[in-house]
Symmetry: C2
């Protein structure tokens, strides 16, 4: 949802040519547990991975997070033609937490070529710390192919701050994890089409396309269930230990640049990705509500 | 020479096991033309490309550049065992030019596995402008394989300055050129092992490994003579038009951060690349002279 950015995935389907699908009962109005945790359309290994990641975040950050205040028509939504479905939940950080918010979402879109499933976990920290944000996004274009972004997003210019690069990227061995995934069969480096999104990513960002082609679903299940799952869990663990739960304090005087930079990341992400793509998937009215809720959380 | 950084290329050869090669006469003491322009060991298509690039730089920037003041034992050098040779020339910019210096070099190293040839063109601008620097480095590990870095190095944090990204990277269509090379057969993305070097590069940096494998030298000659040559010349042209010869002026008040950032790029580059690798190729005494000359030019 956040780094998808005008890729080749989104060709708006002609509603008349597609079967209408009713949203599952669990997606409609139950607010407990959050509809985001349903993942009703995801292939099982993708679903298992997301459930595991979100469960880790929720249990580890329980005391940091306020209850969700996302309105029900954003917690779960679909387009008029009932060909695209989605769920979005946002939990803001408590007053004394370094967590600004945790955003979780899934989108499911029936396309003429098959189903597109996008899951996102985004952990944004506030200006009490300069530690990196977390971004995880899995864009599954078919049961055998997946584009994946996983990164600790730097909050400072790494060229000007080599000590920050050393602390959060070198010493944490994130490069080893990146290489572990990049060296697997079926895995190719993937470049976002947006130069801004590329600039936002760190030098150890996982940005890959996993395409199992003719080897099919069982190979994708293996990769997701084994290496991808293991690397994603390790990256999340590093972020939780080193960033979200660290006592690393930010000097008051340096907060302005950090806030300005964070705001730019938020504004540009909404502009490049959400405002460009959500209306095509969900129509202007639903998209406006979703973007509005995110902008309110982002304070932009 | 500048982004080679502890890659797998450099295994110091055992001098006793290698034939001793005498430096060619033209490399010894003639200072006109510069020994850098000899390229005595380069495969012809690599040599043709370098000669063409340097000739463009020299004719276009003639009025910007002061005569070389590089001492003769740095203009051309070799190790005690005469298994590694190199040439380095640096031309500082004239008083009223935005050019800080132009660095040109080639290194040739006989290794047990074959010959390693590294050619570098580095165009550094001063703080009268904020326009990007130029980096071109070709690391040819064999007649059929080449690692290549080509970039306009950003001088500002692109996340904080999207207008800079738009001006120098989006509007110049550098991405089109990057993709043109990356989509060729034999071409794979290449990652520097240094996270700092990766951070220094722009999102449109060409960083690739061209490996023609069994298709051999003729394929490499074709790629170098056609697409690679054409893209390299276009990138250079963009830099000359848009950066080195532009009248883009920098506000006096903003120069301090720019200078601090430039100095970090220079310091870290010398530390990561030159100080780590040159002693292994040329021995400590020769390496010290070369690094000393570069540090003097870099004012670090």
């Amino acid at each position: 949802m956040l780094v998808l950015s005008h890729q080749a995935f989104l060709h708006p389907p002609k509603p008349s040519s597609l079967p209408r699908i009713k949203p599952r009962a669990s997606m409609s109005r139950s607010r407990s547990p959050s509809p985001v945790l349903d993942f009703p359309y995801l292939p099982p290994p993708h679903r298992d991975l997301m459930l595991s990641l979100l469960s880790t975040v929720h249990s580890r950050l329980a005391s940091h997070l306020l209850p969700s205040s996302v309105p029900s028509d954003v917690l779960s939504f679909h387009n008029d033609a009932s060909t695209s479905f989605g769920a979005l939940d946002i939990r803001s950080g408590a007053h004394d937490s370094p967590v600004d918010f945790i955003l979780e979402s899934w989108l499911h879109c029936k396309l003429p070529t098959g189903a597109l499933n996008i899951t996102t976990l985004f952990g944004f920290l506030n200006a009490s710390t300069e530690a990196p944000h977390l971004l995880m996004e899995f864009i599954q274009g078919s049961p055998t192919s997946l584009v994946l972004f996983m990164d600790l997003l730097p909050r400072k210019d790494l060229v000007l701050h080599p000590e920050y690069l050393a602390e959060f990227y070198q010493d944490t061995q994130l490069e080893k994890l990146r290489q572990e995934l990049n060296n697997l069969p079926y895995v190719q480096p993937y470049c976002s089409s947006s130069l801004y999104i590329r600039s936002v990513l760190s030098p150890t960002a996982v940005a890959v396309n996993i395409n199992c082609g003719a080897d099919g679903e069982s190979s994708m299940e293996e990769v997701m269930g084994a290496q991808l799952s293991s690397v994603a869990k390790e990256v999340l663990q590093i972020w939780l230990d080193k960033c979200a739960c660290s006592s690393h304090q930010m000097e008051e005087s340096k907060r302005n640049v950090l806030i300005q930079r964070d705001n730019l990341i938020k504004t540009k992400t909404v502009e490049i990705d959400l405002s460009a793509n959500l209306p095509r998937m969900f129509g202007p009215n639903v998209a406006e509500k979703i973007v509005g809720t995110i902008q309110k959380t982002f304070r932009i």
